[in-house]
Every structure is written in structure tokens, then in C-alpha cells.
Symmetry: C2
């Protein structure tokens, strides 16, 4: 027996496909959308199609952008095109930009190497990075993947891939987060912080 | 500085408007949708507009349906049209139907009286119920709102509203849930279970 009207059932199913959304939540969301004014429901639907259609990848750094040309950062004359910061995700670009210190450009991998999730080197934008470096004009590649096993593996793999080009490959510093307490830092972080200690100047 | 492309930012905002969805979750959902194949993103968008446009309320019981006529339950000759089960929500109809015992029809209030949420008697489908009962042919109205303050208040209010018509108004039984343990039952439930005790037959 069909309990909800088919169109509503269909919407519930669509919501339930989203990551982290179960059936109960999907029902709640579908009810909410169904009770929206018609123009707002239309705006939501348009936003989905619009994002899917107009959002593209920057041909240079692979970050999300709109249109065919390079993204705003890659096109900017004020950014150092010779320094590439390699991140796993567009959200990481935002995090770096929020810090406001970095003046180079980025390379977004869209994932990390992870055998557990069946992500191999060819599932991330690694060849695009190699081509950028091979094209010349790059002084330094900064690996800024997350400091976990998968991020480390990815950074290690890419640094070996870039070795033949003689480019300088660096890694973000590990250490105690600013504003935190030493007593709450885990051993691995403390060890890395000790290893990476610097002289007062 | 704009970090995400505007179309993606727009989609994130649309998701963030949904109940219980924060910015981080909205970003995750937007990324997921953006990476769907184009036809699937289109199907999602169509589901939203479709649900909004084609889902209507049954003119008899106010439950969700499609098209102009009465819903499948109200149109069924196998259901007892003289017994109306009053519920707060379409989901409650599903719960009742799942039990499979009930052969009457429903009346969906779409809410309960709740001064805290600014829901008065006219914000729920109470007049529609009165008109149904006034039209005659109704033997019994079963109040099946939730056993909480608001559900109780609503049931009480409606039973007074229906009193002039001399129709039998009943309430679902309170008691220990089947399969649970007595020691975990709260005092109010235990008291109600004791009050509602029945003779072995």
C-alpha cells in the first residue's frame, strides 16, 4: 500500500540518497520543501540544476569556479604563480585563504589516495599537478594535505612524482595548535613539535 | 572575497535553510549534489518541483494525496467511513496503517494546538473535522494525537467542539508499550496503565 503520494515519496527518496541523511530526516526535509511557497521550492530546484551546470573546474588549479577560464586566484596578477599549495579539497583552499597569509596559488586534488575507499593516484588530480610542474615556472610545491595517514601517503606519493623535475617540495609544519594547551596535545603532535623546533630570533 | 563559485554558494544556502541542516552539512550536501551525474541532479530538482506542484490535500480527510479527488483511503469501499481516526500528521496515518488493524478512515490535522509555537485551533484542520461530523454518517471519532501536553490539549479541544453533534468520541488507550519492561515505564504511564486495566476474558 502506498502511504505517501508518489511525488512526495520520490522526493523523500531523493533526500535519502544524500550522504548522512536517513529516511526519517529525508521525510522531514521533504515535508519542509513541500510546504515552501512555490517560488521558493522552484528556487531550490534551480539552485541544484544551476550549481550542477555552471560550476566547473579551473583548468589550472582544478579548484571550483564558473565559466571556462582560470579561477580568480589563478588569474590574479598579485598571486605568486611560482608557488603551488597542494590541498585535498576546495574547502581547504577556503581555510588557507581565511588565514590570509598565503600569496601563492593552489592545486586541488579532489581527494586523497586511500586504498580503503578505492581511491588510487589516478582518482585524484595528480597528473594535472605533474603537468603544471613539468610546464616550468614553479619554484616550490607546498604539500598541505591533512596530517593523517591518507594525507601523508598522498603527500609522500606526490613528492616522489615531482622529484624528477627538481622542484622544491615542502610540507606544512606540524606542531601545537595556537591557543591550545600543551597538556592536551597528543604524543605524535608533541613529538613532531619537538622535531620541528626553531631557534628564537 | 568569494571562495565558492556563486552558483555553489547559492546551493549551500538553499540546503542550509532546511530544518536541522547547518552550514557544514549544507556544504557537504551541495558538494554531493554537484558531483552527481547531470541527469540525477535534474531528477532531484524535478522531484522538488514535482512534489510541490502535484501533492495536494484530500478534500475529505486532509491527508496528502495527488490529484483533485479524495485519497485512496477515503475512496475505498472497504473502509468504514463512519469511524474517523484523528491524527496530527500524515506520518501518523502511516504508523496506524502499518499496524494493519484499523479499518476506518482518518482525519489529518496537520499540527496540534500549541501556544508555544503560535498554533491556535484555526491553524490546524479542526473546522474541516467539524464539517465532516456535522454532515452526518459518523459514529465514532477516535482521538489519536500524541500523548503529550499538546496532543492532549488538542484532543480535549476537539472533543468539546464535537460534543454538540452527539457523536461518540474516544481516545487511544494509554499503557505499557508491548515488549517493554515494567521497570522502565515512567510513573504517568504506569498510572494510566493501572487506570485502564481490563479484566481477563
Amino acid at each position: 500500500m502506498q502511504y505517501f503520494p508518489p511525488a512526495l515519496e520520490n522526493l523523500v527518496e531523493q533526500f535519502a540518497r544524500l550522504p548522512g541523511i536517513g529516511t526519517k530526516t529525508a521525510q522531514r526535509l521533504a515535508f519542509f520543501v513541500m510546504n515552501l511557497p512555490e517560488n521558493e521550492a522552484k528556487a531550490f530546484a534551480d539552485a541544484i540544476v544551476g550549481a550542477r551546470q555552471s560550476v566547473t573546474y579551473c583548468p589550472v588549479c582544478q579548484n571550483l569556479t564558473e565559466g571556462d577560464g582560470p579561477c580568480a586566484i589563478c588569474a590574479s596578477k598579485r598571486r605568486d604563480q611560482g608557488t603551488i599549495c597542494v590541498v585535498a579539497d576546495p574547502k581547504d583552499v577556503i581555510a588557507m585563504e581565511r588565514a590570509g597569509e598565503y600569496t601563492g596559488v593552489y592545486h586541488v586534488l579532489h581527494g586523497v589516495i586511500s586504498p580503503m575507499s578505492h581511491m588510487g593516484p589516478d582518482d585524484i588530480r595528480s597528473q594535472e599537478l605533474v603537468r603544471r610542474v613539468a610546464a616550468g615556472g614553479v619554484n616550490e610545491v607546498i604539500m598541505a594535505t591533512n596530517p593523517d595517514t591518507e594525507g601523508e601517503t598522498t603527500a609522500m606519493y606526490l613528492s616522489r612524482l615531482l622529484a624528477p623535475f627538481g622542484v622544491k617540495v615542502t610540507r606544512l609544519a606540524y606542531g601545537i595548535p595556537v591557543g591550545s594547551h600543551l597538556e592536551y596535545a597528543d604524543e605524535a603532535t608533541l613529538m613532531r613539535a619537538l622535531e620541528g623546533r626553531r631557534e628564537f630570533r
